[in-house]
Every structure is written in C-alpha cells, then in structure tokens.
C-alpha cells in the first residue's frame, strides 16, 4: 500500500516509504534486520547501482540475497529491502556515501566496496575531501574485508587504514579532484598507471585484482574472460570490483563472473526503447566523471544524441558542473538539449561549439530526431521521469 503511494507520489520506484515508517517505529531497525546475515555494502560516487546488482547476482551462488534494487540507497531503502527478505542469509546493499558511516556501524559488514569518489552535487552531498574523511573513519571500523579501487586516490586514502584491504586496479578514476594529497596536501605525481604523493607515503598500492580490456586478472594471476553485456570501461571496473567482493564472501571467481556478466539492464539504465521509428538507448549520468565515461561510450557510433538535464533537489540545484563535462567530444554530431534546464545545457554546448537545438520535453526530442538509433543521456531525475514515461 505505502509502496504504491510512494510510486504515485513520484518518490522513486516505491522502495522507501515502508522503510521510513519502520525506522520511525524502531531506530535500530537496520541493526536488527542485518543481525545474523552476512552483509556487503557498496558505496562510491558512480557505479553503485550497477555494482550492487552484479554483486547480488554473484552472491546468489551462495544463497538467497536481500538487496535494494533501483537506487533507494539510504537507510529507509535498506530497511525496506531487508524486511522484504527476512530469511535471506546474505544482504548486498547500495549505500549513499553520506549515509555510509551510519549504515556501516549498524550492519557490521563482512565486505565493504569502495568504488570511486568524485565531485557530485556539491550543494547537497558536500565536498569530496569531507566525504573521504568520513569514509576513512567508517572503514576503519569494518570488521570484514574492504574492497577498494587503487586507481582512485581518494578511495585509496579512505581504505588504506582498514583491517584488511583487497585492492582492485580498475583503470578508472577521476583525477581532477585529486591533484593534492588527501592526507598531507602535497601534489600527487603520476607515472603511467602508478601515482604517489610527493610529500607523504600515500601511494598506489599493489593491486590484487587487475581490470583488462575484456578480461580480469585474479590475485593468483589467472586471466578470466569478462565479456559484459553492459558497455564501457566503467562497467568493466564495476564487474571486477563485484567479483573481488563476491570472492571475499566465498564465491568462486568463475561462478561470480558467469552470473554478473548476464546483467544487461540496471533499473532501466542501458535499455533501449522503441519509439516513433527510433531505437533510443537510455543512459544515466549524474556528474562530470559519469558524463565523461558515457560520452566515451557513445563515441562507438555517430548516432544523434539527446541530452537531458534537470536540477531538482535530488540532482543538485547547481549546474556549474556542466562546465566540467567534455561536451566538446560531441562536435559534428546531431544534438538536442533537453530537460527542465535545457537552456543551461544549450549555453554550455554553444561554448563547446556543438551545434544543437532545444526541445525541453525529452520524448519530443527523441521524436524530433531522424529515424533510427538515438543515444539519450540524462541526469538523475530526468532519467527517472523519462524511464517512467517511456514505460507507459
């Protein structure tokens, strides 16, 4: 009933209201609901939903898994997910960076996965260095294994003091927020894939797992094929992080990879919709690092692109970040600026010298394209609304 209501009110896919009520009734609900289960938490700026889904699939090899599908990643969402599957011995939870310390304390995770940290919604989430420090403190209290991306300086700093760390070379990281060391402030120097601080001993740890082009390398040096159905380098990174985390919980590598490889559609992301003679692929990107990766994915072909931007509370009200996205890569392509803040995007595209038109309604924007394939890239609420309307 309340889930239905939540859907009606546009509060997401209905994963939250039940949990909110439960938390009111029992503030310790999260601790009670995770007690006796083996818990894996997944956090970071980008890739949380995908990695969580991959990890949940992989862990299902061991038994039933309670998980929060679809990005309801705050404690009320966790309570809802756990309540729905009271008997599942495993829980795999996506956790908003800001809530990670609280959820970590309540759930005493066996595995904590730290994907990456970059700027995202500065007016709501706060600055990257603040988040790094709070994760660092939280991670020190993780009783189990921390799986961390050693190609991300902020994540490395956050994870380094944990009891047991498994390092994953993902080949991805957003370096623009990490010119100076999160520990001492001195400049970070890069030499190829290696990086180190010029002032203190923070440096890229030796990776246990390595992400390659279409494969991964296990801690034993075994090369495993990793052909995914999801596009892009960042999804390969998500897959290796999930494999390493599943392995830490006891899932054999081959079993983990076989299961997570099948993931093709994550809460509507990456799916293709048929509409008015168009095949529109829906891609979600929320912040500069995410957009930068997605612009690489759409480079595979020269399809027209609809870019959809909102700036609601959940997106962050400040659109300054549009200037950190390398939209210049879309030069020469047919582009439509769309969404509630299409005009902000149009100004950015103008200065990027990307020719474009403005059609604020994203479905009308798709219709306005020549028939055939269209790439649709949208930020959070724009994507959510588009996905819901496309399903009607």
């Amino acid at each position: 009933m309340s889930s239905k209501l939540s859907q009606k009110m546009g509060l997401g896919a209905g994963g939250m209201i039940g949990g909110r009520v439960a938390l009111k009734l029992d503030p310790q609900a999260l601790a009670h609901l995770t007690a006796g289960r083996r818990v894996a938490l997944v956090t970071g700026t980008n890739g949380k939903t995908t990695s969580t889904m991959m990890l949940a699939r992989a862990v299902s090899f061991l038994g039933q898994v309670a998980t929060n599908h679809g990005g309801a990643n705050m404690p009320d969402g966790h309570v809802t997910a756990l309540s729905k599957q009271p008997d599942a011995p495993f829980a795999v939870l996506e956790v908003d960076e800001g809530y990670f310390p609280e959820v970590c304390r309540a759930s005493a995770p066996s595995v904590a996965v730290l994907l990456n940290l970059s700027r995202d919604q500065l007016d709501r989430v706060g600055e990257v260095r603040t988040i790094e420090k709070s994760l660092r403190t939280a991670v020190a209290g993780v009783p189990g294994v921390v799986v961390a991306n050693c190609d991300d300086i902020m994540v490395t700093s956050a994870a380094r003091d944990a009891r047991q760390v498994v390092w994953v070379a993902t080949g991805t990281g957003w370096h623009n927020d990490a010119a100076s060391c999160p520990r001492c402030g001195d400049p970070i120097r890069w030499e190829g894939e290696h990086w180190h601080c010029t002032g203190c001993d923070l440096a890229r740890p030796k990776p246990d797992w390595v992400t390659g082009d279409g494969y991964l390398v296990t801690p034993n040096g075994e090369k495993v094929d990793l052909t995914l159905r999801l596009p892009g380098k960042f999804n390969a990174a998500n897959a290796v992080m999930a494999t390493a985390a599943a392995f830490a919980l006891g899932v054999p590598v081959a079993e983990a990879v076989e299961r997570l490889r099948a993931v093709s559609n994550v809460a509507g992301r990456y799916r293709t919709i048929q509409r008015s003679g168009h095949r529109a692929r829906l891609l979600l990107s929320k912040n500069p690092a995410g957009w930068s990766e997605t612009l690489n994915v759409v480079r595979e072909a020269d399809h027209p692109a609809v870019l959809v931007i909102n700036a609601q509370e959940a997106d962050g009200r400040d659109l300054s970040w549009l200037w950190d996205v390398p939209f210049e890569r879309l030069r020469g392509r047919q582009v439509i600026a769309s969404g509630e803040r299409a005009t902000d995007l149009a100004v950015r595209l103008t200065y990027a010298e990307v020719e474009h038109t403005i059609v604020p309604d994203p479905l009308k924007a798709i219709d306005a394209m020549p028939p055939g394939a269209v790439e649709v890239i949208a930020n959070y609420t724009a994507f959510r609304d588009l996905n819901a309307r496309a399903a009607q």
Binding site: L122, S320, T350, E353
Partner: protein, 236 residues
C-alpha cells in the same frame, strides 16, 4: 597584451576548479575568438610555476584544504601578483575573493594570510550560503543584472580601496548586502554558474580591460534566454 595572442591563465584548476569555474576561461577565449581576437588558455597546474606574462588570470573556487595549498603555491610562485602590479586583469571566484584579500579566517578560527591583492578580509559565516543570486552591478560597471549560483560559508568585508562589484537583490554575496569586489583591474565574486557564461557583459568588460577596446556586440540567444530563466527562477 602580449605580441600575438591574448593569453588567459587558468590558475590551478586542479585545486580551485571544484565548481566548474574552468568555464570562465573558456568563455573569455571563445568570446574573443568569435570576434577575431586571437586568444589562448594557459593552464597552470599545482606544482608548476606561475608566469607573470599573461593578460588575464582566472582563479576559481575550491575546498578549504585546496584553498590553503593554492595560497601557499601562489606565494612561492608570485607571477600573478607581479602581473597584477603591471595592471593585468584578474578574476577571482569564491575562494578567489577570500585568498586575494589581506587575510581570511576559517570556521576553526585559524586566520590565514591572503595574497593582499585587494583591500578585504574574509571570515566564516554562521551558515552556508547556497542558492541563486541576483545583484545590480555597482557604479554602472556593466549592463544588466549580475546572476549566478553561490555556495560558500565565507563572508567578506571590503576596505576603503576596494569597491563592491554589485548590490545584492537575492542571495547573500559578501554579507547579504554587497557582492564581490573591484580594485583596479582585479575583480572578485562569490558567484559560480560559472559566472561568465551567465554574465556576458561582465566577460566583455574583462576583455575590454585586457585588450583596451570595447569588443563588438555578440548575440547568443541561449545566453539571453538563460539569463531570463534564472532571473525568473530567483523571483526577479
């Protein structure tokens, strides 16, 4: 202005580039290029010396730690301050307004020396100012309203040698009353958005200062529309 091109120094974007302020340099470059004025962006990263030969310096906003490091770097490599001495144009945004002053005091009550480029001091305010800002340019400095997005805890008090950039209609700015600072050809603001894409007249003022000539009119419909939308959203 140097021999061939107008050079725009993008100062420490890896420290002070948290809020897309890189866009200010892009806007200056494009607005000159589109009018046939050759211009180039010179990026100065953390750890690199700061040249004193550029025509325009653009400094952005950043987090507290980054801001402290930036001051340390700019003191060790005082190219921008030397350039200021000979009248180069300098735009400082957010952290910029704080570090350009005599000193600034953080929420932890520690006072840090600034670069002394403008007659001002800054301190941490009680609450963080976040949201759309609309302000009227002071002394008819440029046409239209100043618009942008602020996200800062600092409050700034101007001394007699600095004058405000604008008078606040909506938002907080320096102190709830005035916004930004102008001293010679050094111009500071708390506004992101970034500020120059949202305020083409301000961009053109900086270009005029750098080149010595008022640039030709440049009509960008998307910019005009954006300004109208943001003013409406702020209730003006």
């Amino acid at each position: 202005m140097s021999a061939s091109k107008v050079s725009i120094a993008l100062v420490l974007p890896d420290l002070l580039g948290t809020y897309g302020d890189f866009g200010n340099a892009v806007v200056l470059e494009k607005r000159m290029a589109w009018r046939g004025i050759p211009a180039e962006i010179v990026t100065i990263r953390f750890g690199e010396p700061v040249p004193d030969s550029c025509d325009i310096y653009v400094v952005g906003g950043g987090e507290d730690t980054a801001q402290t490091l930036a001051v340390r770097h700019l003191r060790e490599h005082p190219g921008m301050q030397r350039a200021a001495g000979r009248g180069a144009v300098i735009l400082g945004v957010c952290a910029g307004i704080q570090i350009f002053g005599e000193h600034f005091t953080r929420a932890d009550q520690v006072t840090h020396p600034g670069l002394g480029l403008i007659d001002s001091t800054s301190h941490a305010g009680g609450s963080r100012a976040i949201g759309e800002v609309i302000a009227t340019p002071a002394d008819g400095l440029f046409e239209g309203l100043l618009t942008g997005f602020e996200n800062h805890q600092g409050r700034t008090v101007l001394g007699p040698s600095a004058r405000p950039l604008a008078h606040v209609k909506v938002g907080t700015g320096n102190d709830g009353s005035v916004e930004g600072a102008v001293q010679g050809r050094i111009l500071c603001t708390y506004l992101h958005g970034p500020v120059l894409p949202r305020n083409p007249a301000l961009a053109d003022l900086l270009i005029e200062w750098a080149t010595g000539a008022k640039p030709a009119p440049l009509d960008l419909p998307a910019v005009t529309q954006l300004r109208a939308e943001r003013a409406k959203a702020a209730g003006v």
